[in-house]
């Protein structure tokens, strides 16, 4: 009995340690110069590969799953303290805010790309729809940004359904061409519509306000003056947590299972009674809604949006994030987005080489580790029985 409790305790300690370790790796990657960041990432990847070789990573996964609560609390506390840890360095906070925004979009994109296997090259269009909706409502009609978030969400979800329609009839290369074409059409429409600011974008977007407290004002807690990015950091962190919760709930629901079934084989999925139309459109509209929220956040955070923020290159970057993190793995997608945002910001000094680096990173990931940092997991279904024996039903999903 005591032995068992001890094992439990050590497993929960392990979960906490792993969670803390990941937070520390992210933190070191964030604050140190580029070479150290890359070194830390290489060590991290090496640890994952070693764990996979020796099978130790399975134990970690099991412990993390069992003690999800502790691990999440540790990560949460770490996030709450982060603005103090970087001692109010507003640039570093800005990087984290952008990482959070991209994570939300990547989580949404993952529903299509990762879960359902539908190629979508237009996540930036959804992101842009959210941003432009909220910005136009605030700047031209004076509507509160809080309402703008909801409107952005709905508009993006609507666009998601429109963009998702081709996915009902085509897939593979044809679907990729359709989504690329729609993404290009989106960018061209924005550039050519004067009402949306055209090539000049929309400047002067107001920030969020709550009970008269403007998010653009420095935050003062415990006698410390933290830059205004802190406010946005907490807001983005809150929304990212909600998005991650929603994404993992979806993954564990029948909808997530149906998405995986479609990814495996569409025809078989249809014969199993899955309503392809509904489920596929759901993947597009929910994913787009995530991106819409992120877009609204971005617009009111930077106070300026232009068409370059939402073009095809941005879509590629977002796809890169999902691939790097690991498709159909919520934690992996968030990790991938944060890491890639950090690396991207470190590369700002070499602005000319940025897209080149992205392209090379993408090719290297595809060749060296196509399953991403944290590969997708086998689904486990367990039927608990009273005598604690239990029998496991393990369903392998996505064994490609």
């Amino acid at each position: 009995m005591i032995n068992k409790a001890g094992a439990q305790l050590s497993r929960s300690l392990m979960a906490i340690a792993v969670s803390l370790g990941i937070c520390l790796i992210l933190y070191i990657a964030l604050v140190s110069p580029l070479p150290i960041t890359l070194l830390v990432l290489a060590i991290f990847l090496g640890l994952i590969v070693m764990g996979e070789r020796s099978g130790g990573i399975e134990k970690i996964y099991a412990a993390m799953e069992e003690h999800k609560g502790e691990a999440l609390v540790v990560a949460g506390i770490f996030a709450l303290l982060l603005p103090l840890l970087v001692s109010g360095n507003n640039y570093l906070l800005h990087v984290v805010v952008m990482g959070g925004i991209y994570s939300i979009i990547a989580l949404g994109l993952n529903f299509q790309l990762g879960s359902t296997g539908m190629v979508n090259f237009a996540p930036a269009a959804f992101y842009g729809t959210g941003a432009y909706t909220s910005a136009v409502l605030a700047v031209k009609f004076g509507i509160s940004p809080w309402v703008g978030i909801l409107c952005g969400l709905f508009m993006a979800a609507l666009l998601g359904i429109v963009f998702g329609f081709p996915a009902l009839k085509t897939r593979g290369y044809y679907l990729s061409l359709v989504t690329i074409a729609l993404q290009v059409i989106f960018t061209l429409m924005i550039i050519n519509t004067d009402w949306l600011g055209g090539p000049n974008g929309i400047p002067g977007i107001p920030g969020y306000e709550i009970f008269g407290f403007s998010f653009r004002r420095p935050l003062e807690i415990l006698g410390m003056r933290l830059p205004y990015q802190t406010n946005y950091f907490y807001l983005v962190f809150l929304l990212l947590s909600l998005a991650a919760l929603a994404a993992s709930r979806l993954y564990n629901s029948r909808i997530g299972l149906a998405w995986n079934a479609i990814e495996q084989d569409e025809i078989v999925a249809a014969t199993q009674g899955i309503n392809l139309t509904k489920i596929k459109l759901l993947a597009f509209s929910i994913g787009a809604a995530f991106a819409g929220v992120a877009g609204a956040l971005y617009a009111h955070y930077t106070s300026f949006i232009g068409n370059e923020d939402f073009d095809f290159n941005k879509s590629l970057v977002l796809i890169c994030m999902v691939l790097l993190g690991g498709m159909d793995n919520v934690a992996g997608v968030i990790l991938g987005s944060l890491l890639l945002t950090i690396i991207d910001e470190k590369l700002r000094d070499f602005a000319d080489y940025r897209m080149l680096m992205y392209a090379l990173i993408l090719i290297i990931i595809l060749i060296a580790r196509p399953q991403g940092l944290l590969p997708k997991r086998n689904r486990k279904y367990q039927i608990k029985q009273d005598n604690n024996e239990g029998y496991n039903v393990t369903v392998t999903a996505g064994g490609k």
């Binding site: 296997g117 190629v119 329609f165 081709p166 009839k169 085509t170 593979g172 290369y173 044809y174 990729s176 061409l177 359709v178 690329i180 074409a181 729609l182 290009v184 059409i185 061209l188 429409m189 550039i191 050519n192 025809i267 078989v268 095809f312 290159n313 590629l316 796809i319 691939l323 000319d352 080489y353 897209m355 080149l356 992205y358 392209a359 090379l360 993408l362 090719i363 595809l366 060749i367 196509p370 490609k400």
Partner: protein, 307 residues
């Protein structure tokens, strides 16, 4: 009437340049069943290497001392296109072969990424590569006739495309290698079984496709008179659209598709008020509709998936 005619000729020229890239897409898709998305950037690489050969190396001036201008133009274009063919082979080894039997998304992403890389490499390493470069005037520019403004250049672009397609037709239908290419694109396993060296066929196809893309790049740069490092993405996209509208994998369909897209683009920008800005939008919308309602293309067989 004269306006309509001159716009039609304009559209045919543009269509010719699109169809060459479309042919490249279709060739690659035929033998490998993959979409090589960097085709547009490869074509623009040819335009840049020709520009470099002429303006930096001074090859054109040197050749002109010994040869008539027409012949030296042909030689330079062939040199540029051959370079592109070799580049395409290198790309095949680096970013396509590793994904041979993997999910279709991977070669698509890797070729998109290598297209971006190629574009950026040109932008970074070509002298002032981020600025538009004047493309050397290798084709005579004089007007052939005042009616409908047909210039020599227009005529040469159209004739060159026709000639290239005719040569491709002869190559694919009359030579042994061409027949093997056809065999592989019809059924790879069966082709291997009758003793066709599949790897060799793939290499030759990529070399040939790269060569055609190179000539496409030369023609499109001559059409616009300038080359920009980022022209390839749009050019490649239009070429891919041409291939899809014509029926992916069908070389002759790509020509029809290219012409169709060019006609829509040119006529929307010429005859719809305020249409210039929306010409590409109209072309892409047509492609989306095509994929949705006639995915097998203009010329192409309908495939029914079996479980």
């Amino acid at each position: 009437m004269s306006l309509v005619l001159s716009q039609a000729i304009n559209a045919i020229m543009l269509g010719c340049t699109y169809s060459l890239v479309g042919i490249g897409f279709s060739l690659f898709f035929g033998v490998m069943d993959i979409v090589v998305f960097c085709a547009g950037d490869v074509a623009i690489f040819a335009a840049f290497s020709i520009t470099a050969l002429v303006s930096i190396v001074g090859l054109y001036a040197a050749l002109n001392l010994a040869l008539p201008p027409f012949l030296s133009t042909v030689l330079i274009v062939i040199a540029g296109a051959s370079l592109t063919g070799v580049l395409m082979l290198a790309l095949y080894r680096l970013v396509i072969k590793p994904f041979e039997n993997k999910s279709a998304l991977m070669p698509l992403l890797s070729t998109i990424a290598s297209g971006v890389a190629l574009r950026e490499l040109i932008g970074i390493f070509y002298p002032q590569g981020r600025n538009p470069q004047t493309f050397p005037q290798l084709l005579p520019g004089g007007a052939l006739s005042d009616f409908a403004m047909i210039s020599w250049r227009n005529l040469i672009i159209i004739v060159a495309t026709l000639l290239l397609v005719a040569l491709l037709y002869l190559f694919v239908n009359k030579t042994k290698i061409g027949l093997s290419i056809q065999a592989v694109s019809q059924n790879r396993e069966a082709a291997i079984m009758v003793g066709i060296n599949w790897q060799q066929v793939v290499l030759i196809t990529f070399l040939l496709g790269g060569f055609i893309l190179g000539i496409g790049g030369f023609l499109v740069a001559s059409y616009y008179d300038v080359v920009r490092f980022d022209m390839g993405s749009m050019y490649g996209l239009k070429g891919f659209c041409a291939a899809v509208v014509g029926g992916l994998g069908n070389v002759y369909g790509a020509i029809v598709g290219g012409l169709l897209i060019a006609f829509i683009e040119v006529f929307v920008s010429a005859f719809v008020p305020g249409g210039t800005a929306y010409a590409s939008v109209a072309a892409f919308l047509m492609v989306v509709l095509f994929i949705l309602f006639k995915p097998e293309g203009v010329i192409g067989e309908k495939t029914i998936e079996k479980v």
